[in-house]
Symmetry: C2
Subunit: 348 residues, 2 copies
Amino acid sequence: MGKALTIALDAMGGDAAPEMVVRGANIARERFPEVRFLMFGRKADVSQFLDRKKRLKEVTTLVHTDDVVSSKEKPSIALRSGRNSSMRLAINAVHAGEADCVVSAGNTGALMGMAKFVLKTLPGINRPAIASFFPTMHGESVMLDLGANVSCDAENLVDFAVMGNAFARSVLGLLQPSYGLLNVGSEDTKGHESLQEASNILRGSALPGEFLGFVEGDDIAKGTADVIVTDGFTGNVALKTAEGTAKLINEYMRHTFRSSILASLGYLLARPAMRKLRQRVDPRGYNGAMFLGLNGIAVKSHGGTDALGFANAIGVAVDMHRHGITEKIRSDLALLDRGPGKAQVAAV
Amino acid sequence: MGKALTIALDAMGGDAAPEMVVRGANIARERFPEVRFLMFGRKADVSQFLDRKKRLKEVTTLVHTDDVVSSKEKPSIALRSGRNSSMRLAINAVHAGEADCVVSAGNTGALMGMAKFVLKTLPGINRPAIASFFPTMHGESVMLDLGANVSCDAENLVDFAVMGNAFARSVLGLLQPSYGLLNVGSEDTKGHESLQEASNILRGSALPGEFLGFVEGDDIAKGTADVIVTDGFTGNVALKTAEGTAKLINEYMRHTFRSSILASLGYLLARPAMRKLRQRVDPRGYNGAMFLGLNGIAVKSHGGTDALGFANAIGVAVDMHRHGITEKIRSDLALLDRGPGKAQVAAV
């Protein structure tokens, strides 16, 4: 059993909140006996589910607030009018040192906006990024940014490389992670200028791990690199394209197995193996987008997740805390040589 | 049987050329009895395969040239030093009116560079785009640009929308195709400024079909839109990410069916249905990237394709010609209202 650790939960975030959040926290409690919870939300709504989970209730402090950030709210509006929202109070708890991490299944843009405003970025980082795991031929890799920053310059991409690299070394436990910049070809002259600049900086850096230069879209699933670095626009499209493709093939499969009696019989025989396959590509297993580059740990669960997926998102936060991801990013930034201005900031 | 139609083939392009090209042309000859071929390549190399196909030989004129554009050649170099290459001569044949379309499985960048240089873009189009089919939940859709233009402004995106729309109406036979701009969210304020500008122009245009505004990565496979418009960087990454994801799931499947005796038995029973599934997602069925926006029809086959895939690429060229895609794009451009300068050009 590890050191005690407190997780702030936005009890009202997510399509099936607050029940899903309470049930997810209960699954996480079984997995991580050292975890305590600080839940924020409407007391009456949350209590009806929390009261049924005695052991969870013992390790949970529920703080009442009426305000909730809706999933449709624009981040800029949420930032101004959501000061007493369950989401904001959960983030505040991390800033105040009352919690070690925050997990929410609420509005992504609002969560990122608030987390950035309250927790601030690490010294030397201009913009935080959203990172997540991808299943690959060799296991899993990490990709970032998945949508926090629509436009990125070379410095941003380099920051993301540092953050992703630190994540792979700490949470994934890789000593020398490989990392690459997502591009439309592997030749040096391909792609936007910012990619070429970022590649030059990374090639000359003292970062641990192996810099692979440019990688392409099919390298994500191949597992060519442990860390895939890209701007938030491209990353978001790639993530959703992969999800859409997986769903399409799944649909084709269902159709195939129902297309004849023999095929249905075949499916029956193969069912235990198929179940394992489904587990392997179960999106709940990859639930939890990490916000990297902030003074604190924030994890975004998919809004449509169930309790199991939410528990996995809590697990990601626990992992990040245990492995000291924030400190690792901080110290890695000092290894970059990006000219005097930035380097001084990074060396603080 | 349709009107006679001549296709210029780069006999030396592709990993398995020239044998694959000759065999592919032979499959296409069976499918399209009205087609004649104009092949360019090293006579001795091509003849050894062509001589074995009597009926193909009867409808084929083989023009000798020693020069070949290598798959590794930079487009700019190929453009300068490849004046007598099989690829260039095949494109020249379209420009000279000796052929109606050109098909090559060679170097994509070189093919696009040469096609643009020789055939020129249509009046009103600044940049041609690469388009291809995607399998979806509802059949198939068209996406462009897939890599011809790394950076695109609003005008380019609008051009692509016109081109994709004309393609869907002619080749796909849709009367009112739906089309959307690929973005990271469906709200008006999302994404790059160029996307918002393009959206405004398209919303006010008289183009046939239904403009859906912004669509997201998962909409590609869902089939939300018949035409997905994006810049060449994002499109290329999305295409390759989808391909990589499909391969990954295929690999998982293979593994699953071999994981137990029951699963293997199940696979045996389901095999006929599985074969149909494989055909449905067979990349050869979707082979053939269309170059749109040029004064002439050019189709790029995948470099690693086999004869069947190459025949499909020829089929795409035949379809484009039969449906008068070039004329359709030309007339649609006149329907746009983009301010005086551009509109005049488009109205020529």
